[in-house]
């Protein structure tokens, strides 16, 4: 059972306190989107064996959504950060780069 620290309330929360929300940093495509844009927004997802950026909600805690950088293979958590951002913070990216040379996710490297 994962142990993930909620950046909002600071609690190291058990997985059962949390609700997973899939991939992070997805930009909404609205009513004007093309078929391709909308398909990408609704259905296309990264599925890495490695570092992933994901959304979690501290559902049975403070109720806030946050993001986590987590390795899907080793389950290492590189950090958690506010959901109110469009890209991972620099210090987390630095940490991932240091531990996973050659890593990439979408257009991040």
């Amino acid at each position: 059972m994962l142990l993930i620290t909620c950046p909002n309330c600071g609690v190291a929360a058990e997985e059962t306190e949390l609700h997973p929300g899939g991939e992070a940093h997805i930009k909404r495509a609205g009513a004007e989107a093309s078929e391709g844009e909308f398909e990408a927004y609704l259905f296309r997802r990264e599925n890495p064996r490695g570092v992933h950026f994901e959304r979690w909600r501290h559902a049975h805690g403070c109720g806030k959504w946050f993001h986590a950088a987590r390795c899907t293979a080793t389950l290492e958590v590189f950090g958690t950060y506010s959901a109110q951002t469009t890209e991972p913070p620099a210090e987390i990216l630095e940490k991932v780069r240091a531990k996973r040379p050659g890593w990439s996710w979408r257009d991040l490297q």
Binding site: M1, L2, L3, E15, L42, K64, L75, E76, V77, Q84
Partner: protein, 989 residues
């Protein structure tokens, strides 16, 4: 025959005799016995029949690794099948029965399978019962099920208590042998919070049986001292009878405690979060693969030693030892010391030379080097051993009569816990076993190792190594405890004995005793192309029984590797999965059963409903009255009475469970315009609007009435089951997409009680409670107002889910019951009738109102339900808008909502499909619609239904056929879904 020795037995208390029965035969044992030791002490070596061939089987081991000795244990509500006799303590008046035999243990009809064994090879079931297909369900499966299977299922509910315990520590040590005690001591000295678990009821592991000194102190005393020091340390929690069952992500551990104490819960499931875990889980001895190695009386050498030393039990007067390593010599010495005979030690090694070998020789025991077992002979137990050259093909050199055979094929570390969370293994050539690779440990949330092994679980096979390794694992400073050690001679890997054994012998060499997998089966699997160890495992069922292959794994892998002509590490191991040994389902459930299964949500009027005949319907965690049944009435009659009373006079509904969410803030209108398909921002204060919510996929997820409370706040009603989900949905969008919008939400569902006052006399009833103008002029349809009724501050919403004149009155929850009772008093002259959820459904279905979860199922869009009028054409965007423009959503052939009216007034079966002409590619009848809601309408005295039908609205008047599950076809005409008062006259008064 095995028997009790006159003296000895470290763990038994001879002053406390216990009486028990085995297969209805009365026997006696002592406190401290396990079922296995007590049965052996009573001469009962035959304890069960094997799974496939029904061969007679006896006790092989003394611990969790035992494959054969499973019992039906207890009676009535305390009955439990598949109890491992080697780990179940004997209790007074215990009722024990063997499993998997018919009619008796001694005479088993299924044993005929054994003589057919060459027709029952690996994969037999797959190969034979495939064809003809029709025979499977009727013939093959019942026969296989009757002849296979282990214990019986209990017939009564479990009466015992079970609980979960939560614990947190810096260091968790699993295993209370010398290694575990050393590691825990070292960890505790550094100030860490330590939990130490031992799966058995006694401490010290194997060390206290084999004897010796640590730091100059005799081992039994050393264990006692170490335990006492740990017990006195307030940072340390120690628990015996508690098995570390599984290690999971990020240091989460499940442990399983069996209390053996009548006052305590029977089992406890420990849910432990540990910073670091040390597995000091020891090692398990491997059997040797020789012909008839499964006869009762053939046991692991270590188990023989344990029964002699721990329980004062003799396996028989004469025990032949067969080994490939020095450790089994300890068993020879223990037997000799107990006054028993060891006719010979058959040592597969050509030149065994260790101090233990010398000791055995000095005691006059014959050591036959380079020898092995050609076969064990005997009918229901060991009678003699045929000796051969290990290097040869099995020519019998001599026959030695004996009652028991003690075998040792070397030792394998217990690596299960290490492996559960990804710890990797390496092959150790010298010891011929897999051991944990310290360079590839399981890693935690920080990427660091969180499991360390200690002692023989690391592969340390001598005392000094064990102590040094465990001290290091515990993070100990300074020198590790010291012990003397005599160097053991090297062991010789032996996978088949004799090494040149022909097929006749290999078909009698059992690898997996519990699932009856033989050396020949694994070789056949390899020959047929099952080269991956995971495939070979499933094809042969090797290691798939309840013992999870604790004894068979390495021998099976070695056999497979040999058959594939590849080194063992290349074959690898199968996956180790928790739990280490089976744990009770009851412990997993813990307290979560009966009333404590899940929390129950009650409205303020809950008790009133209970006192007035409510039949409950679970709705989420709520209980809602389904109907209020009066004496002499059926539930159906009650529903009909409630519907009619509401239509003709006055009904009251407890609507408190409806979700209520406040949405407030400068951007609240803009936000709700995105949430709902309708325009919400333009709703005037004091007005209500029915709104639909869709997911971003376009599908309908909820509906309800929105009321504008003030300039910047709206009250959103949701479905009963939807409050938390919809509140979460709103928060998700606010927090993750539009976080710059200034909007706040609050779920106030439980803050308010809500009562629907429904029927032609609804207005009069409210007017009698005074102080508030609820007239048609002051409160037209779809408006709301604040006021006072019966002296209670209320919000009255003039909305209707029944088609009647209707007011929903919201009051602070604390006054819900008071208003409910006031309304009953006020409505008495109108024969006021409380109604339940079923009447609510009938009322709404008569009017063609949809219900989320009935008409919608996650694949339905508002357009399917004829709800285009609730979709704003003016808005540029809302959740689901883009999706609803996709080609599949705009397909004219989507099934659409209609009413369905049976030709003979009967009620359509719920969920029935309408059949169309022709068949699909699977040969099934094509369908063209399905029933989504169906009721008997007391108002119209006929069955009414709604359904989704292909081109439905364009096919009014057509008749569809719905085959019922009973084979009866129902014919129904497509009609408007509004069955009652289509003009809305009753509501607009």
């Amino acid at each position: 025959m095995s028997t009790r020795l006159a003296t000895g037995g470290r763990l038994i208390d001879r002053s406390k005799p216990l009486s028990f029965t085995f297969n209805n035969k009365r026997m006696t044992g002592f406190k401290g016995d396990t079922l296995a030791s007590a049965l052996l002490a009573n001469g009962q070596k035959l304890v069960g029949r094997s799974f496939k061939y029904h061969r007679p089987r006896g006790i092989v081991a003394r611990g969790a690794e035992e494959p054969n000795a499973l019992a039906n244990f207890g009676t009535g509500a305390n009955f439990e099948p598949n109890q491992r006799m080697t780990t179940t303590p004997l209790t007074d008046q215990a009722v024990v029965a063997s499993q998997n035999h018919w009619p008796t243990l001694e005479f088993d009809v299924g044993a005929i399978n054994a003589s057919l064994s060459r027709f029952l090879p690996a994969g037999f079931y797959y190969k034979t019962f495939n064809w003809p297909r029709a025979f499977w369900a009727g013939l093959y499966e019942p026969i296989i099920r009757r002849s296979a299977g282990l214990g019986k299922a209990p017939r009564q509910a479990d009466q015992d208590r079970y609980e979960h315990l939560y614990a947190f520590c810096d260091v968790l040590v699993v295993g209370g042998g010398v290694a575990g005690l050393t590691a825990a001591t070292a960890a505790a000295e550094s100030g860490d919070q330590v939990i130490l678990l031992e799966q058995t009821g006694s401490w010290g592991g194997r060390s206290v049986i084999d004897g010796g000194d640590v730091d100059g102190v005799e081992i039994t005393q050393w264990v006692k001292n170490a335990l006492q020091a740990l017990d006195q340390n307030k940072n340390v929690t120690i628990r015996k009878d508690t098995m570390g069952a599984g290690i999971y992500d990020h240091g989460y551990v499940i442990a399983y405690e069996q209390t053996h104490d009548t006052d305590a819960p029977r089992h406890r499931l420990w849910r432990i979060r540990a910073g670091r875990i040390i597995t000091a889980t020891g090692a398990i001895e491997r059997p040797l693969s020789f012909a008839n190695n499964d006869l009762p009386g053939v046991m692991l050498a270590s188990a023989v030693r344990d029964y002699v030393c721990d329980h004062g039990v003799s396996p028989g007067d004469r025990t032949v030892i067969v080994t490939n390593n020095d450790d089994a010599y300890q068993t020879a010495l223990a037997l000799k010391n107990a006054g028993l005979e060891v006719p010979v030690i058959l040592d597969a090694r050509q030149d065994p030379q260790g101090p233990l070998v010398a000791k055995a020789r000095a005691l006059g025991i014959r050591v036959a080097a380079g020898r092995g077992v050609a076969s064990v002979t005997g009918k229901r137990g060991v009678e003699a051993v045929e000796v051969c050259l290990h290097a040869g093909e099995g020519a019998v050199l001599e026959t030695i009569p004996c009652e028991a055979v003690a075998m040792s094929g070397g030792w394998s570390p217990v690596v299960h816990l290490w492996s559960h969370c990804g710890g990797k293994l390496i092959w150790d050539d010298a010891q011929a076993h897999f051991r944990p690779d310290p360079d590839r440990p399981p890693t935690g949330h920080d990427g660091q190792a969180f499991v360390t092994t200690a002692g023989s679980a690391s592969g340390a096979m001598s005392w000094p190594e064990v102590l040094i390794d465990a001290h290091r694992a515990g993070g100990g400073q300074g020198a590790a405890p010291a012990a003397d050690s005599e160097d053991a001679g090297p062991m010789l890997p032996v996978w088949v004995m004799p090494q040149g054994a022909g097929v006749a012998k290999r078909t009698k060499m059992f690898l997996d005793f519990q699932n009856d997998v033989k050396v020949s089966d694994v070789q056949l699997a390899a020959q047929e192309g099952y080269e991956s160890v995971e495939h070979a495992k499933r094809y042969t069922t090797l290691g798939m029984a309840t013992d999870q292959g604790k004894l068979s794994n390495i021998n099976g892998l070695a056999t497979l590797s040999d058959a594939l002509h590849q080194p063992i590490p290349q074959t690898g191991t199968t996956t180790f999965r928790p739990p280490y040994t089976p744990i009770s389902m009851a412990s997993i459930a813990g307290e979560a059963r009966g009333e404590l299964f899940q929390p129950l949500r009650r409205t303020p009027m809950h008790d009133w409903h209970a006192q007035h005949g409510a039949q409950w319907e679970p709705v989420g965690q709520w209980r809602r009255p389904y109907a209020y049944v009066r004496a002499g009435e059926t539930v159906d009659q009650a529903v009909a009475r409630e519907v009619t009373a509401t239509r003709t006079s006055l009904g009251l509904l407890d609507a408190s469970t409806l979700g209520k969410i406040i949405v407030k803030g400068p951007d609240a209108g803009r936000f709700l315009d995105m949430m709902y398909t309708n325009m919400i921002s333009t709703l005037p204060v004091g007005k209500c609007r029915y709104g639909l919510m869709c997911s971003e996929n376009g599908f309908l997820i909820d509906d309800g009435v929105v009321a504008r409370i003030s300039d910047d706040s709206w009250l959103c009603h949701t479905t009963t089951g939807g409050a938390e989900r919809i509140h979460g949905h709103m928060e998700e969008w606010l927090q993750t997409e539009w976080w710059d919008w200034n909007v706040f939400t609050a779920n106030v569902t439980e803050h308010w009680a809500q009562i629907a006052v429904v029927g032609p006399n609804a207005r009069k009833t409210l007017e009698k409670l005074g102080d508030m103008d609820v007239s048609a002029a002051a409160m037209p349809f779809m408006t709301w107002a604040k006021g006072t009724l019966a002296g209670i501050p209320v919000r009255v919403f003039r909305i209707s889910f029944s088609g009647e004149l209707s007011y929903e009155v919201a009051v602070p929850a604390s006054q819900g019951l008071s208003l409910w009772e006031n309304l009953h008093a006020s409505g008495e002259e109108f024969d006021v009738t409380p109604y339940g959820t079923e009447a609510l459904h009938v009322l709404r279905a008569e009017k063609g109102f949809i219900m989320i979860g009935d008409e919608s199922d996650g694949t339905v869009i508002p357009h399917d339900l004829g709800l285009e009028w609730a979709i704003s054409k003016k808005k540029t965007d809302y959740l689901g808008k883009r999706a609803q423009a996709r080609s599949h959503m705009t397909d004219p052939d989507r099934w659409k909502l209609v009413g369905l009216q049976t030709l003979n007034r009967s009620t359509l079966p719920d969920g029935a499909y309408a059949v169309a002409e022709g068949v699909n590619e699977n040969g099934q009848r094509k369908t063209e619609g399905r029933v989504t809601s169906t009721y008997h309408s007391p108002t119209l005295d006929r069955g009414i239904a709604m359904g989704l039908v292909l081109n439905g609205p364009d096919r009014m008047g057509e008749v569809l056929t719905f085959p019922g599950t009973d084979g009866t076809p129902y014919e129904a005409r497509i009609v408007s879904p509004v069955f009652f008062d289509p003009e809305g006259d009753k509501q607009n008064v």
